[in-house]
Symmetry: C2
Subunit: 269 residues, 2 copies
């Protein structure tokens, strides 16, 4: 449970318009999804000078299973730091528009090690797949592959939506299968199916007097919308009947829910 | 002087096509320009648990003179860390497209302090100007304004272009006056004036056999282009006669250099 900001009475959060027990990705899954869909981050290491000072540097990374891997030069500050003290964290922020504090971010906390043997080969493949232009310098003698052994993770999904995740939560969290198609689904729904979303909101949430509705997110378990009320936008989340593993399965679930919503609204008329 | 990567002979950097003693913003100026044109970053603090571990978190900031200022909650990990250990750094990365390692980034190293009195009032104004939506919660009792006292800065402008900057270099570096108009200038030159840029490259650089040229950057001291040669793109930088303080002055300088280039090319014919 997130602690609440110490807000004056007139700025307290409003009661949700939907059943918040709805199926939702857990924070381990959300973290893995976010980290797998981005490829740049800040690596925080312990500086040699001033000694012990936290030092942030920009890095590119790839995920090899649950392990973020880096191709870094022994000339770089962060590599020289890690050679003395392997403790580090990696901050990955979700790109996007609008209020930056409403977007997701993850801090992976652990230790960084230079990789060798089969782990190095696997990291090399993952890194080059994510960053093909590194082929040019991956064999320079000052570069090597490192892996971050994640010990815990801090997930922040936006305002008041955050938690600590342990090693198991991180390593077993599966990236969402819709990650590559979610933007396309959201765009399609907003362009062509506002009427369907309005029906689902009326049938399955407490939102009635809204002037417009748009989809803001979709994942294997369901989708999120923003309805425009007289006093501002409010979120709605609805669950699919069955988890969707690809774009077609998500479409089937959306069509099913729309039909059920319309049937229910007609019956209530 | 940047140390060189340990590259095989066939991948050594090529000799530049322009006079590299050309007027160029120094790294203090480039750092201030970059940090003043972005408003989100990673704050690296010292974790309470695991104790001493470097911890990266996402923050929004504003610059109040040379001081980055933050509006942060006592509920947040970074604030709780700073209350125990004020040592921190702030990593600001330049947004953009293309190879992320070719873009600029700055690490500001120093100590973070909660602000009070006139400093707090000044920080409040700067922060709200950059982040107007914070008006909603700036008076919540768990939020306070903090400032990062910069002691040194690490600037990385892209591949092999980096240095440490001391406190004076940071605090006296002026943000480039063209920062708000530079994208528009670059776009205009690339849409309408490739012929002018080609003339300047032929007259004032060693680039001749290029198939195209585009502007990539402009600052008060001059501008940068990329010429397409048979073996790939190469950079050219040319200086203005007089530093340009606004878009009109930059236009005057570009017109003057174009005329001089054409006169010189005609004379050589």
């Amino acid at each position: 449970m997130a602690r609440r900001h110490d807000a004056p009475k007139d700025k307290q959060p409003k009661a949700p318009l939907y059943d918040t027990s709805v199926a939702t990705p857990n924070h381990g899954e959300r973290s893995r999804t976010l980290v797998s869909s981005v490829d740049t981050a800040t690596l925080c290491s312990v500086a040699r000078k001033p000694e012990g000072h936290p030092y942030g540097s920009f890095v590119t990374y790839a995920l090899d299973g649950p392990t973020p891997v880096f191709l870094i030069s022994h000339l770089a500050e962060h590599t020289r730091n890690l050679l003395v003290d392997c403790r580090c964290s990696l901050l990955v922020a979700e790109p996007g528009e609008g209020n930056p504090l409403a977007r997701g971010r993850v801090t992976l906390v652990g230790r960084c090690e230079q990789l060798s043997g089969a782990e190095m080969e696997s990291a090399r493949e993952a890194y080059l797949k994510a960053h093909p232009s590194a082929e040019f310098y991956i064999d320079f003698r000052d570069f090597s592959l490192w892996g971050l052994r994640v010990e815990s993770a801090r997930y922040i999904g936006g305002f008041g939506n955050m938690s600590w995740i342990d090693e198991e939560g991180w390593s077993t969290g599966e990236p969402d299968p819709l990650v590559a198609v979610r933007d396309r689904i959201v765009e399609h729904m907003n362009e062509d199916h506002e009427d369907a979303m309005a029906a689902m909101c009326r049938a399955f949430s407490k939102a009635n007097e809204f002037s417009s509705v748009k989809m803001t997110a979709v994942d294997r378990y369901g989708f999120e919308m923003s309805v425009e009320l007289p006093d501002g936008p409010r979120p709605i989340r609805l669950a699919f009947d069955n988890a969707a593993g690809n774009a077609n399965e998500a479409r089937v679930e959306l069509v099913r829910l729309t039909k059920r919503a319309r049937t229910q609204l007609e019956a209530a008329d």
